[in-house]
Symmetry: C2
Subunit: 721 residues, 2 copies
């Protein structure tokens, strides 16, 4: 007996993955733009000459990179590269914004069609010129041009962009330990293979630097703020120098987190007292050693007297005295000190969110000019939602940097979608009222409001050794959004989401604008969804212990009061929330009078900050007409429904997005739905033990008892130190 | 002023790496075979019909994979796929070797040209038929066909292969902890992302299973032999089941390392005594639970009473009593127990290499039929060279499995090239003399010498989350070699090296047989080179503490005698080496009389085992005419020179191997040279403190003092628990 059977082609089952979309290329995929489409570049590209114009017109490593990127990208996009030429440009002919003598202007660029003068015009080909005062500006301009071409399909001759970064120092902070572990990292191990350096250079280092340059990010702090002093030993500095050598052509400078007690741990001193002569001398010598190896070294990032780290308080000195001593060591070499304001004391019984303000405000005016104070966006710790830190409004004589967290420690880690641009925009556009309306946080950070030439922004990286860099394929959008906002904080979340989705998912074979739009919308709502199912209405810090994944509102057994969720939500039979008005901790008093008035009254306080500032009765009635209890329940329910909607939205993209990324995201969204339900059921059952009220209509009753949820021990998560 | 400058195309500097050879595809790259070459397949392929013939002829998931692999591969190789059909085959028409009712026969396959009978022959196309008694046999046949086509460029019609595995159970052992750390892993973290399982399935799991199937490996032990009992909890078993479900179609069965004290740690028992009723009942219930989730579960691997692991000795029971209790729990379900023989006691003052023999030989005959004893190749611990473990000769009533270490714990880890096939062949072809000449270790392991139906081989994996799977690009050859030898232990090292180099580096655009031959030769000599510059002449265990990378012959301060290098080399003013003859520990007595005679006399003992078995005076004269001291020095020098030659050989391949892998290997070979010099200088300066003799001519004098080398603290290496 013999039978002939057709076999289904099992391409989905077994397509060799080296041909698959593995996410490694990020937003730099350069897919072939449909050759028979309306894409005007396809015709134009081979006819165009692109001129890269710098003051010297000389070839440099950076210009070689810019040229190679153009050549490779345009060949992939249009099948043929254009002619690319270097040229010298008279600086005075550049737009004013590019001529100023500061970092921002030097890193800006101009892209414009250009008519060559007759004597030099050896052909009739049209010319697009990218001009800048520095080679790095040219490289940034090249990436901007390539982005623009992929976004708009407009003719080369229509492209005219002048762009200058908002903020001078645009950094990624890697919380990477020397053993490869990444604290709060959810995408594998560290990118830095210390053990192999300096002899072996992972090709990925270049791809990292290239991705950074494509966003205009110009600095990277290689190691964790909980720093290991060994990074400053000669052995490690040689490794750091190997990375710095490689990054230099990409305009990327290296910074290091410095441990304040390093003179004791890797030197032979018995003290780290910043006022001790030998300590200052040790740091001066160390700085000299660093700059001999790394002439463009950026500076030190320091976490001092915070969560157990050593610092100047250990010797009865102030943060300013500590920072200034390091600043003095770096100043001769042009380096800066980035001093973190994330401090709160185990002994201090003051509301934790007030402490950094109390500690640092009195020091305003005391810092050396090459010190910048790096402040987390909110006064607590990277919650799904917080008001901005009051220091941004109050501290006017010190350059203030924002520390944003790209890695989603409290927003679902690598399992959940939470596009953070809307959260960062909320923060950046916050009114401090320091100089009346329009005194936004963004203007504080970019230095314009208070007239500081030193400006800096930091993002705690979500990158790791995972092939797709960020674990969750959609988390790449957060790296992208951070970079784009660091360059231009006026960009909207919608614009950024659109750019990223188009660059990342566009595919000539199956391109469909609706797919991009669907992904864009999914991203835009995702952070609010996470807020809704985890910490709505201003709730904060009610996550599980240590790993910070999933709910733990009942946790009250940690040895520091201010690590316990119960410290923050203050649920009791009367109601819920932390009273931070004058009748409570009065953290509100740290803000401008306008905000005190707005936020101090529960009836005018925006619902999203309600329980951050107020302890309210369960039957308090919101402007929506709901009682607090009902609104709380409905918010959690809404979060769950939104998570479910994200999953079903995504499922409609089957066949429109490549199988690899489609499946990966689908799996994670399914888990997100499960997690959202767990958040809702855990929190509502727990808060119900105080409210003693039934769930309102429309809220699904939990299938288990509270003790079931309390017994859940989520799988140990990565990134938990 | 304006100048026009040509720009060098900086493709090397900046080729976007998603188009690069990143090593992910392993030996399954399927490059387009030069279309205008003599490759006969290019003409033939589209005309051929390939028939996959199994007893039922029914489509199954495994056959779908086989079909998809053929289709994808041949399309890549020749531009067009052939026609593929399923067909039923009468089992009786298969060759005898495929008909036997055992695992080996069932996994074998036949590939042969085939003439269809006229009534069914609807076209005149020639037919190649792959026939097997199982679907897995077909999948293996497909991979064999694809390998053959790429190796020989012969016409389809010339291909005729009948192949049956030598050994029934061909396993990879992953020493992977549940937190993602890989003990002795040098290629990143674990492939298993426990935290994401069972909901999220990394696409890499499929690529792993496919690579395993391509080599004919049919089992994987997912977790470290230093086992965490939690792997046996329901929570983890659901995760394991998700992997098993995915691996099943690839013919890959899952095994787990079981912690002997699991009934206490994850059960609620107060004892793990194998003779206690409740303990046996607990394991029976656990086995039933496992098989309900994973019907084809392979069995347990157990490290008991070894290096601190719990075991039956804790209750005064023997290894056989412990193993048999577990075997009884698994037997009803068809599972096996793989019991490790790697034991040596902290209290036992007997020469460590004698202890496993002393412990296990008395138990021969006492093990249940579904127990196999897994023995490391040598009696010590995966040294660069050891004689085979005497248990392979002595223990005849128990199925004996070989445990080989693919990960290069003692052979340069991810930094050095050490192609291990020659080492494994040396082991497999070792004469035990148990039944006279021809009683090789291979015949013990494959079960033929002692007539055991149960046969097994294990390789400690060198895979990890690194994109190229193995860290060092050339270390992929060790995974390949292990798999090929597990399938057919008669293959020569040269054949395997040739296969791997051709499959891995062949490239239509730049193919050059000389390149393959150069890589092949470099691989073949590499292990002996490592032996020469690290532990020549039978020296062993003189590496640095804990991380086992680099030299530490001076180490004498570890709390267990038998962890100290000085315990092993026994250098003194008289001479060097461990006397294991009758005048010393008499470990030699554990071998056959033929070997005792040969090895017991330093004049007939092969130089490679000289200091393993003998303590010899510094001026002992070898058959080469050199004194021991001179020969020692010259061996180290030779190792260094060979390492240097590997580097210069590789450098000649510039432009012939893709830039990515060329650079990666070059960097590592450069480090290998540095490391080789450190080994030589450290060991020679140290041994010179005893020999008090000058270095012979031709040996470069070390540039530093001994104390310099002793002060070197190599960067903390990965994989060190």
């Amino acid at each position: 007996m013999r039978c002939f059977l057709p076999i289904l082609f099992a391409a989905v089952l077994m397509s060799p993955s080296h041909y698959a979309e593995d996410g490694y290329a990020l937003w730099l995929r350069y897919p072939r733009l449909a050759p028979d489409s309306t894409s005007p570049g396809a015709d134009e590209c081979p006819r165009f000459t692109i001129i890269l114009a710098t003051p010297t017109g000389q070839e440099t490593p950076t210009l070689a990179l810019a040229q190679a990127e153009l050549e490779t990208a345009l060949r992939h996009l249009y099948g043929q590269p254009p002619l690319v030429r270097l040229e010298a440009v008279d600086t005075d002919s550049l737009p004013y914004a590019l001529r100023a003598n500061d970092t921002k202007a030097r890193e800006g660029f101009l892209i414009a069609p250009f008519t060559t003068s007759p004597q030099n015009n050896t052909s009739s080909s049209p010319v697009l010129r990218i001009a800048a005062a520095s080679d790095t500006g040219i490289l940034y301009g090249v990436f901007a041009l390539l982005r623009q071409l992929q976004l708009s399909d407009q003719p080369f001759s229509n492209i005219a962009i002048t762009s200058v970064p908002s903020i001078a120092h645009r950094l990624l902070n890697h919380w990477d330990n020397l053993d490869g572990f990444v604290e709060r990292g959810y995408a594998g191990n560290s990118l830095w293979r210390w053990e192999e350096l300096p002899d072996e250079l992972d090709p990925r280092y270049r791809d990292y630097a290239r991705a950074m340059a494509s966003l205009g990010l110009n600095g990277t702090v290689l190691n964790n703020v909980n720093a290991d002093a060994r990074i400053l030993t000669t052995e490690y500095l040689l490794k750091v120098a190997a990375l710095a050598d490689l990054f230099r052509a990409y305009g990327l400078r290296v910074y290091l987190s410095a441990r304040f007690s390093a003179p004791i741990e890797i030197g032979e001193l018995h003290t780290g007292d910043p006022l001790a002569t030998e300590v200052a001398a040790w740091w001066r010598a160390k700085a000299a050693e660093i700059y001999a190896l790394i002439p463009d070294f950026g500076g030190f990032l320091v976490k001092a007297n915070s969560e157990g780290q050593p610092g100047p308080h250990d010797y009865g000195r102030s943060h300013a005295e500590g920072a200034n001593m390091l600043a003095e060591a770096l100043a001769p070499h042009g380096g800066i000190v980035i001093w973190r304001a994330f401090v709160y004391s185990p002994d201090n019984k003051t509301d934790r969110v007030k402490q950094a303000y109390n500690e640092f405000l009195p020091l305003d005016g005391n810092f050396a000019p090459n010190v910048v104070l790096q402040i987390k966006n909110g006064p607590l710790d990277f919650m799904p939602r917080e008001p901005f830190s009051p220091l941004f409004g109050a501290m006017r004589q010190t350059p203030l940097a924002a520390e944003l967290q790209i890695t989603q420690e409290y927003l679902g880690q690598q399992h959940q979608v939470a596009f953070l641009a809307p959260m960062w925009k909320e923060f950046l556009t916050s009114e401090t009222y320091t100089q009346g309306p329009g005194s936004t946080v963004a203007k504080v950070i970019d230095g314009t409001l208070n007239g500081h030439p030193l400006s800096l922004i930091s993002g705690v990286a979500n990158t790791g050794s995972d092939r797709n860099w960020t674990g969750h394929p959609l988390a790449q959008a957060n790296w992208y959004a951070y970079g784009r906002l660091a360059w231009d904080h006026t960009l909207t979340s919608g614009k950024i989401a659109h750019e990223w989705a188009q660059l990342t998912f566009r595919n000539a074979r199956s391109f469909d604008p609706e797919t991009v739009e669907t992904i864009e919308k999914l991203l835009l709502g995702s952070r609010e969804t996470v807020v809704n199912y985890s910490m709505p209405l201003g709730l904060h810090h009610i996550m599980a212990t240590a790993h910070h994944y999933g709910p733990g509102p009942w946790v009250d057994n940690l040895h520091r009061d201010d690590w316990n969720p119960t410290y923050y939500h203050r649920a009791d039979e009367q109601g819920l929330g932390f009273d931070r008005t004058a009748t409570g901790s009065n953290a509100l008093s740290q803000y401008a009078p306008e905000l005190q008035t707005l936020w101090g009254n529960p009836d005018t306080c925006p619902p999203e900050f309600l329980l951050w500032f107020h302890h309210l009765p369960w039957d308090y009635r919101l402007s929506t007409g709901h009682t607090l209890w009902d609104k709380l329940c409905l918010s959690y329910q809404q979060g769950v429904e939104e998570a479910q909607a994200m999953l079903s939205t995504w499922e409609k993209l089957a066949g429109k997005v490549d199988t690899e990324r489609f499946t990966d995201v689908r799996q994670r969204l399914a888990r997100q739905v499960t997690d959202a339900i767990t958040w809702r059921d855990s929190c509502l059952l727990y808060f119900q033990t105080f409210s003693k009220r039934p769930f309102p209509a429309g809220v699904e009753p939990p299938p288990h008892s509270l003790s079931y949820y309390q017994s859940l021990r989520p799988e140990s998560t990565p990134g938990n130190p």
